[in-house]
């Protein structure tokens, strides 16, 4: 349930930005979450709703933009779709693979008033 910590982290970033950018309500939050990141999306939605309740983001819409995983094989020097950290390279079946994308946990943008 570290999604609860992450959701509280999101609220805190919103509140910091409310101070620095001068807004009082958050209507919508867009997160970019990689498919191979540490976030379970349904759990994040549940936790976000729970921690928003008494915050400047109460009732805010949560948009989650999922980012697909991409891996890079050091042997083949090619990129490929990567759906789990233990996936081999589809070309050589080796495991000398580095993740190119898919572990993002980012707040992308906000709709505020």
């Amino acid at each position: 349930m570290h999604e609860m910590s992450l959701a509280e982290g999101v609220i805190q970033v919103l509140e910091d930005n409310a101070r620095s950018q001068g807004f009082s309500r958050v209507k919508k939050v867009s997160l970019e979450i990689g498919r191979l990141s540490y976030v379970e999306i349904e759990s994040m939605r549940f936790c976000f709703e729970a921690v928003c309740r008494d915050s400047i983001a109460a009732g805010a819409e949560l948009e989650i933009i999922e980012i697909t995983g991409r891996g890079w094989c050091h042997n083949c020097e090619k990129q490929f779709d990567y759906s789990a950290r233990y996936d081999p390279c589809p070309h050589c079946q080796g495991y000398q693979v580095q993740m190119v994308s898919g572990d993002e946990m980012r707040i992308k943008e906000l709709e505020v008033e």
Binding site: H2, S5, G9, A84, R85, Y95, I107, L110
Partner: protein, 326 residues
């Protein structure tokens, strides 16, 4: 985790310090309009409308004006602040592009800078509950402390039992109870560091909460994550919990004295670990029989020397730069 101070929404406590919230350093959970007294050190101007933007820059040095129990334990507080910020009422879009863990990572960098300043190798020990982490750690510090002075931060949801076990060996230890939290974060560790004299220490072991999921995401400022897997668990755990084995630099395969009685396939387990992390080092050992422990100590010493060598190289570069400009 509240990323202003990093406190969990539960009741995190650090021994010897008290972080009970609803208190001073950044005012969680205030209702607008109520009055409150601040008894801690730094004075500050109260903002109208409770926007509370006077929160400190976290030098980890605030005066604990809050509740401190008989053991001197510290209480972390509640979740995020219910701030009321006067602002505009015009709808607009704001690009933020900030990492959700950005604040934790900033605290982790502060911890890392402290470790480097004190020439301290910090290791973050992660595993499932019951892998034999504390037994391994107890034996390690008993056998290592004469050569390499050690300190320990213990993370558990509740009880100071593990820190008590460590302190019985004569090594300084601080217990962090995460309350409802499932992992240590960098801010808790920063507060725990205040309880130590770091100068005489050479190795800091941070025993994380027994959990193969959540601690993977939270950088504490350590030099290396050390994953401990015991042979009484399944050999496919590296595949079941790939994030953790991906984040670790070394896997300690513990309880090897039990291998004759089990069907555990060591080679298969190592193969699985290298699928998720081709660079991971593996040390097979038994904290009970002592088999393989020397290899683990050699690994610690090699990493400590690498850390010191990196710092020495940097200092020599600075000395050369100063000499050049004289």
């Amino acid at each position: 985790m509240c990323t202003t101070c990093g406190c969990a929404s539960g009741n995190t406590r650090v021994e010897g310090d008290d972080l009970h919230h609803g208190h001073d350093h950044h005012h969680h959970a205030h209702e607008a309009g109520h009055s409150h007294d601040h008894s801690h050190g730094p004075s500050h101007d109260q903002q109208q409308g409770h926007s509370h933007d006077h929160h400190h820059e976290h030098s980890h040095s605030h005066q604990p004006s809050h509740q401190q129990d008989a053991a001197g334990d510290l209480h972390f507080g509640k979740g995020p602040a219910g701030n009321h910020v006067p602002g505009l009422s015009q709808k607009r879009m704001i690009q933020i592009e900030q990492d959700i863990l950005g604040k934790n990572d900033a605290y982790a960098e502060q911890n890392r800078a402290q470790f480097v300043a004190h020439n301290l190798l910090a290791l973050n020990l992660v595993s499932s509950p019951g892998s034999g982490k504390t037994t391994l750690l107890t034996r390690t510090i008993e056998e290592l402390q004469a050569k390499l002075p050690c300190a320990v931060i213990e993370g558990d949801q509740q009880t100071a039992n593990d820190a008590d076990r460590i302190r019985a060996t004569g090594v300084p230890a601080v217990q962090i109870n995460t309350g409802k939290g499932c992992h240590l974060d960098a801010h808790m560790v920063g507060h725990a560091l205040e309880q130590f004299d770091l100068d005489p220490q050479q190795v800091l072991f941070i025993e994380n909460v027994g959990n193969l999921v959540c601690p993977a995401a939270f950088d504490l400022g350590e030099a290396h994550k050390v994953a401990i897997l015991s042979v009484t668990e399944g050999e496919d755990k590296p595949l079941k919990y790939p994030d953790m084995f991906h984040a670790a630099d070394v896997m300690l395969l513990n309880k090897t004295d039990l291998l004759p009685y089990l069907d555990f396939d060591v080679e298969q387990c190592i193969d699985y670990a290298r699928r998720v992390n081709p660079q991971i080092e593996v040390i097979q050992l038994s904290a009970k029989s002592g088999e393989g422990m020397q290899q683990w100590y050699d690994w610690i010493d090699a990493k400590r020397q690498a850390l010191l060598q990196t710092k020495l190289t940097e200092l020599e570069r600075q000395v050369a730069a100063i000499k050049y400009s004289l």
